[in-house]
């Protein structure tokens, strides 16, 4: 076994605070939606909007960080080994076959992850931010020249994206326990270090 440093301090901070915020927002969001009762509508709104602002702040930092460090390249999609990954999750993982992808500091995400995170970052999250901000500034639409928009549409898109977010969340949490050892990924995101199998000299 070999230990390599994958997740830098900022990345880990960003990941966990985002995870917490999104969990809170999903929890309060669906309460606002009327799915269940938890905090009460008023507190749910307060938590939801406060978290929204914190999350937006965090994202501004994260975008800046990705751009300045060049880490955004981690999310460029690739088809290389994509099928191999799919095959691994469908069969290999059960038979203890070797993982087709090897993480390195330069390439942290396997091709499936890349794709999933890209959808998260380019589709689900921005849809939530944009419709969420619109929702928040509903009374300013007229002044922004968006008078033709209607709240129902914005709310429905926001809800639809939130549903996708929950689906992503469930899948993502499960995958976190699907590393070389069940806790390997989790440890990596906490300490920054992941244990990987020694690479055989080619």
């Amino acid at each position: 076994m070999q230990r390599i440093y994958i997740f830098k301090r900022f990345e880990r901070f960003w990941h966990w605070s985002q995870a917490l915020l999104i969990a809170l927002m999903a929890l309060t969001g669906f309460e606002i939606h009327g799915t269940y009762k938890l905090l009460g509508f008023e507190d749910a709104i307060t938590v939801h909007t406060t978290s929204a602002w914190v999350l937006i702040g965090l994202w501004v930092f994260a975008i800046f960080w990705h751009l300045t460090t060049g880490e955004w390249r981690q999310y460029i999609p690739t088809t290389e080994k994509l099928l191999a990954m799919v095959r691994y999750y469908v069969t290999g993982i059960f038979t203890n076959a070797p993982h087709p992808f090897r993480v390195t500091g330069l390439s942290k995400h396997n091709p499936l992850q890349r794709l999933a995170y890209l959808v998260f970052k380019l589709v689900i999250a921005p849809t939530l931010w944009i419709t969420g901000l619109l929702y928040l500034y509903y009374n300013a639409w007229e002044a922004w020249g968006l008078g033709d928009l209607d709240l129902e549409t914005v709310a429905l898109i926001h809800t639809a994206a939130a549903i996708l977010m929950v689906v992503f969340f469930v899948g993502h949490v499960y995958m976190a326990f699907s590393g070389q050892t069940p806790l390997a990924h989790l440890k990596a995101m906490i300490t920054g270090w992941e244990e990987v199998e020694e690479e055989k000299e080619a």
């Binding site: 606002i32 709240l151 689906v167």
Partner: protein, 511 residues
């Protein structure tokens, strides 16, 4: 003997006046009416008092002549409809005009008994009914004085501004009795505590009616014939101009008075009253919510009219009037309202098989002047012309009125004749409803409605159409798709995980 008696009472009156600080001082006025020569006389009648008032207040009667309080006649500029107490029909006592000798006990004049009343007479303006401060003025006592004559001199010498008591003498007992009509105005508003009404709270702000319903030149601002469900874009001043009536919440509080910006943002769709008057009839009185005239006329075994009361002492049946229902602490109904009310007037036809709206409130979600507004809905059954399909005026009072004859046919015939409307000779009873704007009985801020009152599936605004209300509204299909998607994901993940465990155990048992 009477002279001795009067001087005795005068002595008492003087003693009271001396002992208590004079009213002029109490209200900070620069004029003490007790010192005016014109008022230092024994008045024999109301009009005599008025003549004395007019010697100084030269324009007062002319001003009154131009008001709804005097004419009972009002043309709604928005609809062109001719309203006013003289013209409208309601589902309480139905119509004033055929019964004017009785109903004019709430007219600001002396002597309106029939259509010979002189509306140009200045001395027939009743100053005291609004400006008495002794609390002893009573139109009834003045019309039919008993042994003890009302002390008009004392009243004249202590006149002052209007009060909740003077306005309330009529407005807190509209519909023929205490608390009957409005729901948000009943005699408990004369001395309310802070919980009943934050503004009129007798131990607090102690607003009088005119603090909001300002009256420049005796023209009282506000009123439901030409109502305003929202402000005018800022604060206003009494009587500055009539367009910008003072009688809105916003005229003092502005358009965005709340600390929470999100709450302020609700004011584009929701009237202040909707959240700040969580219930009406919160005082000591229930209000009437049902009046069924069709059951009137049942007499007791002796052939006499009778009255039945509920456990609280409120009339639930009266031979003269029919069945009643009363309610207390009532959650209002809510409707879109833009300030325009359309009455069903005499002559307007309708379908008697349906519940008739006596006054329809205009407005809707796409109208920027509309707000969601609380109303008391008064329901009941009342007579109508079964052939012409119109509402009818009814003479209830007097020796030929229904309350004496118990004969609908003549009562309606006489009623219709007095308003100059045709009557086919056949009547029926139509179910009607009438909406009363709820705007008084404003609760303290911390008693205002919270979010979940409306942001819930079965909240107070469940019936309001045309707006998306988070927490109330959702798309069934989307919700269903959401549940299915999330459950499938959970199931998939659980299955995958279980398979991993099974395979791992198998591997271990093999080695």
């Amino acid at each position: 003997m009477t002279i001795v008696k009067q001087s005795f009472w005068t002595t008492i009156a003087i003693a009271v006046v001396v002992a208590a600080p004079s009213l002029a001082m109490a209200i900070g006025s620069t004029a003490d009416h007790g010192k005016f020569e014109a008022l230092d006389q024994q008045f024999a009648s109301g009009p005599e008092v008025t003549r004395a008032c007019l010697t100084c207040h030269t324009e007062a009667a002319k001003q009154i002549h131009g008001t709804k309080h005097w004419t009972w006649d009002f043309v709604n500029p928005k609809t062109g409809q001719r309203l006013g107490k003289k013209n409208v029909i309601n589902n309480f006592c139905v119509s004033a005009t055929p019964n004017i000798a009785e109903c004019s006990s709430c007219h600001v004049g002396y002597g309106w008994k029939d259509d010979t009343f002189d509306f140009s007479s200045e001395e027939n303006v009743d100053c005291l009914v609004c400006h008495d401060t002794t609390g002893t003025y009573s139109k009834k006592a003045l019309r039919t004085p008993g042994k003890r004559k009302p002390n008009l001199k004392k009243m004249a010498q202590s006149v002052g501004p209007t009060s909740r008591a003077t306005c309330g003498a009529c407005h807190l007992s509209g519909g023929g009795g205490d608390a009957v009509k409005h729901g948000d105005l009943d005699p408990s508003v004369e001395h309310p505590d802070v919980f009943l009404d934050v503004h009129m709270d007798a131990d607090g702000l102690d607003f009088t009616c005119s603090d909001c319903h300002g009256a420049k030149s005796h023209k009282v601002e506000g009123g439901r014939y030409d109502a305003k469900p929202h402000g005018n874009g800022g604060m206003t001043k009494h009587g500055k101009d009539e367009e910008h009536s003072h009688a809105t919440c916003q005229s003092c509080h502005g358009d965005a008075p709340m600390k929470d910006e999100k709450l302020n943002e609700h004011t584009d769709k929701i009237a202040c009253q909707t959240c700040h008057i969580p219930e009406y009839s919160r005082g000591d009185y229930p209000t009437k919510t049902w009046w069924d005239w069709s059951t009137a006329g049942t007499l007791d075994v002796d052939g006499k009219p009778f009255v039945a009361k509920d456990d609280w002492g409120w009339e639930v049946y009266n031979s003269k009037k029919g069945d009643f229902r009363w309610q207390r602490n009532v959650v209002p109904d809510y409707v879109w309202f833009n300030g325009t009310i359309r009455y069903t007037l005499l002559g307007d036809t309708f379908d008697p098989a349906k519940v008739l709206s006596v006054n329809a409130l205009d407005g809707g979600p796409d109208d920027p002047d509309s707000r969601i507004y609380p109303v008391k809905v008064m329901r009941g059954k009342q007579p109508y012309d079964a052939v012409n399909k119109t509402l009818t005026a009814v003479q209830t009072t007097g020796k030929d009125g229904y309350w004496t004859t118990f004969d609908w046919d003549t009562a309606i015939d006489r009623g219709m004749t007095s308003v100059g409307a045709p009557y086919s000779g056949r009547y029926g009873f139509v179910e009607t409803e009438m909406k009363w704007l709820i705007t008084h009985m404003v609760a303290p801020a911390d008693e205002a409605l919270g979010c979940p009152s409306c942001h819930a599936k079965d909240g107070r605004l469940a019936a309001i159409e045309g707006v998306y209300i988070p927490g109330r509204d959702s798309n069934r299909l989307l919700d269903l798709a959401g549940y299915v998607l999330v459950l499938l994901t959970l199931a998939g993940v659980a299955l995958h995980g279980a398979l991993r465990v099974v395979f791992a155990l198998r591997r271990r048992s093999r080695t």
